[in-house]
């Protein structure tokens, strides 16, 4: 088999190889290397660690099931970190399919730490309007979210007592899959209302936010499942993301090899094309 014939390979063989490279390490769980936290994950961790216990934090889970593998682990880890430090959590989601995931995270972690819905945390749910919701919260949160996800008026929810606008929050923790998300929170809230912010984002969008890190508009950034794994390592609570890292490593190496092989095959094919 020469290089030129590799170039004509049915791509379904490649699909099969990718499938196996992901399934096998997950099924048999071997261990390639430990997870080393990056400075950006540390920034995320420190921003929460630095807050006085009992502060109120805004947790926005702006993602839906399509990026659950990347965003859910960081959402879960952030909720664990916040509840472990007894923070009050005001949660919302600006992706329509996001609120059930926020429910799942808060209920599960709330049970672990004995926190009660309404007293220690609340899920305000979803609101139409994308970045307009953020801007409108700057004017009045009770007007923008008159009721929580269960339909209870916020005036009757203990944890919402005294919450008027962004002034009452110590930190914004954003878990984001794209639009509306990290970019919009930075644009509409961070600089405008001077609220410190950290973000856990999908890997696709992570490079876009580096300019915000350097200016300090973001205090920390988790990029994709690898970022979530680093954060899990920092809070010393290994979960889904860390268990995915072996498969992730192998698939990356495979794709890098594919690029090399593809170009070699292309070189092999060149003369034939000219002839």
């Amino acid at each position: 088999m020469n290089l030129a014939s590799i170039a004509r390979l049915d791509r379904r063989w490649i699909f099969l190889a990718v499938g196996l490279l992901v399934i096998l390490p997950l099924a048999f769980g071997f261990h390639i290397a430990p997870v080393e936290p990056s400075p950006r994950s540390r920034g995320f961790y420190d921003a929460i660690e630095k807050l006085p216990e009992g502060s109120t934090v805004l947790l926005s889970g702006d993602y839906d099931p399509s990026t659950i593998a990347e965003n859910y682990p960081m959402h879960l880890a952030a909720a664990r970190h916040l509840m472990r430090r007894n923070m009050k959590i005001i949660a919302l989601a600006l992706y329509p399919a996001g609120p059930p995931l926020t429910d799942q995270v808060l209920h599960m972690v709330g049970e672990e730490f004995g926190k009660k819905e309404g007293i220690d945390y609340v899920n305000l749910g979803y609101k139409t309007g994308n970045e307009l919701v953020m801007s409108s919260m700057g004017s009045s949160i009770p007007r923008t979210f008159p009721v929580d996800r269960r339909g209870i008026p916020v005036s009757k929810i203990p944890v919402m007592k005294g919450i008027q606008n962004f002034e009452q929050f110590s930190l914004l923790v954003n878990v984001s899959a794209g639009f509306p998300g990290t970019k919009e929170w930075v644009q509409q809230v961070v600089s405008r209302y001077h609220l410190p912010m950290v973000a856990g984002v999908t890997a696709v969008s992570a490079p876009e936010y580096y300019p915000y890190l350097q200016t300090g508009q973001l205090k920390g950034l988790l990029g994709g499942m690898a970022g979530a794994a680093e954060y899990e390592a920092l809070i010393q609570r290994p979960a889904l993301a860390m268990r995915g890292m072996d498969a992730q490593s192998l698939a990356h190496v495979f794709i890098a090899l594919m690029i090399l092989l593809g170009n070699l095959a292309f070189l092999g094919k060149q003369p034939a094309r000219r002839a």
Binding site: V22, L26, Y126
Partner: protein, 214 residues
């Protein structure tokens, strides 16, 4: 191995496999799943939008809070929302432009100030850096590279001057910086897609087949 006995898990697993069948080729099972997905998600959005925005932010305050807190101005969005549906009537569709016009006023305004502050003014501020930091040559070098890279990229996106001579050279450097940034985006995109696959495989192995517990 403990295969799930939950019918819900089976439904979810079969739909997952149905979508994956697209890898073999476009086929009726995939088409069925894709259309079901579009339908269910549209239905979901309607229910969610009603209960989380239309009811609490419009209908409840407008119709149930008559009396002291009643905000009569809410009639305006109520009417404008109804106007939207005028486009289903051939002669009334000009009314829906009123509603669209409100949206077309608010969002550009939010974006002008949002982009202006965060992506323009703040970014310029973050790029004004000293080229020499006492005792830290690496940080100094990084500052110089960051600023030069930014300026070269801006020169590449400068359209009033032909890319010749010195300007052309600087623009070429700008292209190199752009290529490195695209390479970084490529790497991160690979990472993202692989993660999503890992998530699905975890579901199939754990919740459905029970081969391993994650």
């Amino acid at each position: 191995m403990h295969v799930s006995h939950d019918i819900g898990v089976w439904v979810a697993a079969l739909l997952t496999l149905g979508i994956f069948s697209f890898l073999y080729r476009d086929n009726p099972v995939y088409k069925f799943c894709e259309h079901l997905f579009v339908g269910v998600s549209a239905g979901y959005y309607v229910v969610l939008t009603y209960f989380s925005s239309i009811k609490p932010n419009l209908l409840t305050p407008l119709f149930q809070h008559f009396g002291e807190n009643w905000n009569c101005l809410l009639i305006i969005p109520f009417v404008l929302s109804l106007f939207l549906f005028s486009r289903f009537f051939p002669r009334g569709d000009w009314l829906s432009r009123w509603s669209i016009a409100t949206i077309l006023g608010v969002y550009p305004a939010l974006r002008i100030t949002g982009f202006g502050q965060s992506d323009l003014v703040q970014q310029v501020g973050g790029s004004i850096l000293p080229f020499w930091i006492q005792g830290d040559p690496l940080a100094s070098f990084n500052n110089i590279l960051l600023v030069l890279g930014l300026l070269a990229t801006l020169v590449f996106f400068f359209f009033s001057k032909e890319h010749e001579g010195a300007v052309g050279g600087v623009a070429k450097v700008g292209v190199y910086f752009l290529m490195v940034s695209f390479g970084a985006s490529y790497g991160y995109t690979v990472m993202a897609r692989v993660s999503l696959l890992i998530g699905r495989v975890m579901f199939l192995l754990d919740n459905w087949l029970g081969v391993v517990r994650f």
